[in-house]
């Protein structure tokens, strides 16, 4: 029974990867379509893209402008990509649930499981943000990253289900890892928006840039959206740090010991604190703060992969030998 479920779980994750890959293709086609469409639109109407840039200081009766979708609206490819992503997430979640039932404990106890859950959260945050603001334009980035992560997880990190070793049997661990992985989802989407922001700001300063950017929101607006996501991620990460300390206190008798994993959790926290400061410091808004958000997310990825695999310490729970 356990083996069968674990096998189904693996089949489901492979299927999810395939669907994400299709979604990625659709999103990429969408971007190339936008590049072409935006070219013709701006050729006729050079100011159209800029009109969107309004901040909250908007004249009477104009407020909808800030909420409007970018110039070219949605394309069929984008809708297909988005629908496929949602479908893939359903299969993805099913895989995680089956894995949990097969293992008889929470499905986030080794690197393979962290990666699957983390990728799931990235997509879930992406889809949830869509309810609030149109962010489908970063679909290619999110699905591309998720395909890579899940590919890496299934090919290189896969381990069969095992019982939880005694140090991992703690409610604080469940909370700690769950919230850390959720925070990763927010940092990922925030990071994606920050990358878009940097590219957009490059275009706005008159440098050459890919054509599809013309249909993206203005860099200032991308920055505001990225900021909302990053601060949610930061709040979650602060909690992660604390739950981790409580768990360490229960398991090893000290809440903080500068173990490798703790060092990286701290570094990430400080980088994002730096990001928040940068947003409030003259001369550091805009591009420099976007770079910090991206560096922070890169550190998160580094922490989840390289640190888990190659650095030793008390947290060596990758499940790989």
């Amino acid at each position: 029974m356990t083996e069968t479920l674990a096998a189904y779980s693996l089949v489901a994750i492979y299927s999810a990867i395939a669907i994400y890959a299709l979604a990625f293709i659709a999103f990429v086609l969408d971007l190339s379509r936008r590049a072409a469409v935006a070219q013709t639109v701006t050729a006729q109407q050079p100011v159209a893209a800029r009109a969107y840039q309004g901040s909250t200081l908007v004249a009477e009766k104009a407020p909808p402008a800030t909420e409007a979708t970018p110039v070219s609206g949605t394309t069929r490819y984008q809708r297909i990509g988005f629908a496929l992503t949602a479908l893939a997430l359903v299969v993805h979640v099913a895989s995680i649930v089956m894995r949990g039932i097969a293992a008889g404990h929470v499905p986030w106890s080794n690197l393979f499981e962290f990666a699957c859950l983390g990728a799931g959260f990235m997509v879930a945050v992406f889809l949830a943000v869509q309810l609030w603001r149109d962010v489908r334009f970063i679909g290619a980035f999110v699905t591309g990253l998720v395909v890579l992560l899940l590919g890496l997880a299934t090919v290189n990190f896969y381990v069969p289900v095992t019982p939880l070793p005694p140090p991992l049997q703690s409610i604080w661990l469940y909370i700690h890892v769950f919230v850390a992985t959720l925070a990763t989802g927010f940092f990922a989407v925030g990071g994606a928006l920050s990358i878009a922001q940097l590219m957009q700001s490059r275009r706005e300063s008159g440098k050459s840039a890919p054509g599809f950017l013309r249909s993206f929101p203005a860099s200032e607006r991308l920055e505001t959206m990225a900021n909302r996501l990053v601060i949610v991620g930061f709040a979650l990460w602060t909690f992660t740090l604390m739950a981790g300390a409580i768990w360490a206190e229960r398991a090893w008798g000290r809440y903080w010991g500068w173990d490798t994993k703790e060092v990286w959790t701290f570094i990430i926290w400080v980088v994002f604190a730096g990001y928040i400061h940068a947003r409030a410091t003259r001369g550091w808004r805009g591009n420099p703060s976007a770079w910090l958000a991206i560096i922070g997310f890169a550190a998160v990825l580094f922490n989840f992969t390289v640190v888990n695999l190659f650095f030793n310490g008390l947290h060596s729970y990758s499940g790989l030998k």
């Binding site: 083996e3 909250t56 200081l57 908007v58 004249a59 009477e60 407020p63 800030t66 069969p160 095992t162 019982p163 939880l164 070793p165 005694p166 140090p167 049997q169 703690s170 505001t224 900021n227 909302r228 930061f234 709040a235 602060t238 909690f239 604390m242 300390a245 409580i246 768990w247 206190e249 229960r250 398991a251 090893w252 008798g253 000290r254 809440y255 903080w256 010991g257 500068w258 173990d259 490798t260 060092v263 990286w264 570094i267 400080v270 980088v271 604190a273 730096g274 400061h277 940068a278 947003r279 409030a280 410091t281 003259r282 001369g283 550091w284 910090l292 640190v307 650095f311 030793n312 310490g313």
Partner: protein
């Protein structure tokens, strides 16, 4: 001409630089960078063996890194310099802001601007209501939504979100509180390790610890007297068919503890659930087997007898141990070898352990050495290792005599009529970490303040809203103070509710 700065001027200038947002940011980024080496190089505090290994493998690199304090990154001068500057900057930042905030809390919301058109969410609607009544109604609505309000003629000025700045100040102050708690009060604690064999007593005095690290301000009175012993130890394992390995699923140590003039009381110790006794917390870090071994001289007098903890070498608890007998026999004797809880003989005659569980068949296989054990030199000797280079092997290996193999209850004679060795029985042992830490509660309180302050400061919007009656029209507008993505919606919502309440 620039005005010339005197020493006081320079000091003031330096202080302003240090407490500026930009300096805080640069110091934060430096702090993140400076922490990186602490994850690349083994640290003395968290991985002392890693440091020793590094030193052995590459002494030259070791010397260079050691000079820069890289094996103690987090107490190194450069790391300390960064965080001390950061915290000085932080205090220099909190104090004036707190003062400023207290003033702001007492101040009245500012005058309504003459022109609202250019402000956020501006709305203007014709109104038939008498201005006095319209504004009074607006003031009531704003008050009900938690705004502080002030009338200025036929307009009302409202502000909310002082809590945002309060949260920010609580957050930053709690960071300072956390640093002081951990940095200062942490120094009063101690931690120690002890391998405790079933039945052996432990009393909480310094000499009972195998290793002991006192904090900076430790003194002996912090060691509250108590006793503790290990009554029983249970481990549960599960066999994984796919990988053919045993996975541990549970470790439970049954302890008895007794505080000064008390009774023995039972306590259960598990990996994630420490036992609190006598102002300390006791943690279960490891476990293993301790065969009881007795060595006798040729006349049958015991010259050594005791439970000897063997250190686990693999997942099936094949364990390694040493017995040193410096006195009582014709020569100094050392026994070195392996313990197999569930022995399985391999084709080449050597043993392995089939599982980590003792099924009453356990086996001890020992090499015997004679010669000078070096115990008299006064050099600290690790009880778990043996350096056989200057010793003569008399049993096992190339000595020509087979290794001593004993099942529980068996006795074998040592070669050359030196005496005999008996494997009398089997006990379990646990390795314990024992901590006395008075900071945990304080750290938790500050952690909660940090988290609470952060949430308030990140997610409570701080904004101003104005409602103004001018020439038969009502005007509404807002002003964000800091990040406030929902301001326009809030103004629109207020305008709608206001006109509804006026019946327009």
């Amino acid at each position: 001409m620039q005005p010339r700065l005197g020493p006081a001027g320079w000091l003031r200038w330096g202080w302003r630089q240090l407490t500026s947002m930009r300096t805080a940011l640069v110091l934060l980024l430096l702090l993140a960078l400076a922490a990186i080496p602490g994850s690349l190089v083994p640290q003395r505090t968290s991985d002392p063996n890693g440091v020793l290994q590094f030193q052995q493998n590459d002494p030259e690199t070791y010397d260079v890194l050691n000079r820069f304090g890289l094996f103690e990154t987090f107490s190194s001068p450069w790391f300390s310099a960064i965080y001390i500057l950061l915290f000085v900057s932080l205090i220099g930042c909190i104090v004036p802001r707190t003062k400023h905030h207290l003033d702001a809390l007492r101040a009245r919301p500012p005058r309504t601007p003459a022109h609202l058109e250019r402000l956020a969410g501006f709305e203007s609607a014709p109104s038939g209501t008498e201005p006095e009544r319209a504004i009074a109604e607006a003031q009531k609505l704003l008050k009900a939504s938690g705004y502080r309000t002030e009338r200025y003629g036929t307009s009302v000025s409202a502000e909310r979100g002082y809590l945002r700045e309060t949260g920010n100040l609580v957050f930053h102050s709690a960071l300072v509180g956390m640093l002081v708690t951990v940095g200062v009060f942490g120094g009063f604690g101690y931690t120690g390790q002890r391998v405790l064999v079933q039945g052996e007593p432990f009393t909480n005095v310094r000499a009972s610890y195998d290793s002991f690290s006192p904090g900076r301000f430790f003194d002996e009175t912090a060691l509250e007297p108590y006793s503790m012993r290990l009554d029983d130890f249970q481990a549960r394992y599960q066999f994984d068919l796919t990988t053919a390995t045993w996975h541990s699923t549970d470790f439970t140590a049954s302890l008895s503890t007794r505080t000064a003039d008390g009774e023995w009381t039972p306590a259960t110790l598990k990996v994630n659930s420490p036992v609190s006794v006598g102002g300390t917390d006791v943690y279960l870090l490891g476990n293993g087997y301790a065969p009881v071994i007795t060595v006798r001289d040729p006349d049958g007098n015991a010259v050594f007898s005791g439970a000897v903890p063997f250190l686990p070498q693999d997942a099936n608890l094949t364990s390694r141990g040493v017995v040193k007998v410096p006195d009582g026999l014709g020569e100094q004797l050392a026994l070195y070898g392996f313990f197999y809880p569930d022995p399985l003989e391999l084709a080449d005659g050597t043993f392995t352990s089939f599982s980590p569980s003792d099924k009453g068949e356990s086996l001890v296989s020992l090499f015997a050495y004679t010669g000078d054990l070096g115990l008299d030199d006064g050099v600290g000797v690790n009880a778990y290792t043996l350096d056989p280079t200057s010793l003569t092997q008399i049993a096992g290996g190339k000595s020509g005599t087979p290794a001593l193999q004993l099942k529980e209850g068996e006795t074998v004679q040592l070669p050359g009529g030196l005496g005999s060795v008996e494997y009398e029985g089997l006990r379990r042992y646990v390795s314990l970490d024992i901590h006395h830490d008075i900071t945990a509660t304080g750290a938790l309180v500050f952690a909660l303040l940090i988290l609470g302050g952060l949430l308030v400061s990140l997610f409570v919007p701080r904004r101003r809203i104005w409602v103004k009656a001018v020439r038969g029209r009502l005007e509404y507008a807002g002003l964000a103070r800091g990040e406030d993505p929902t301001l326009a919606a809030a103004v629109a919502d207020l305008a709608r509710r206001h006109r509804e309440s006026l019946g327009e």
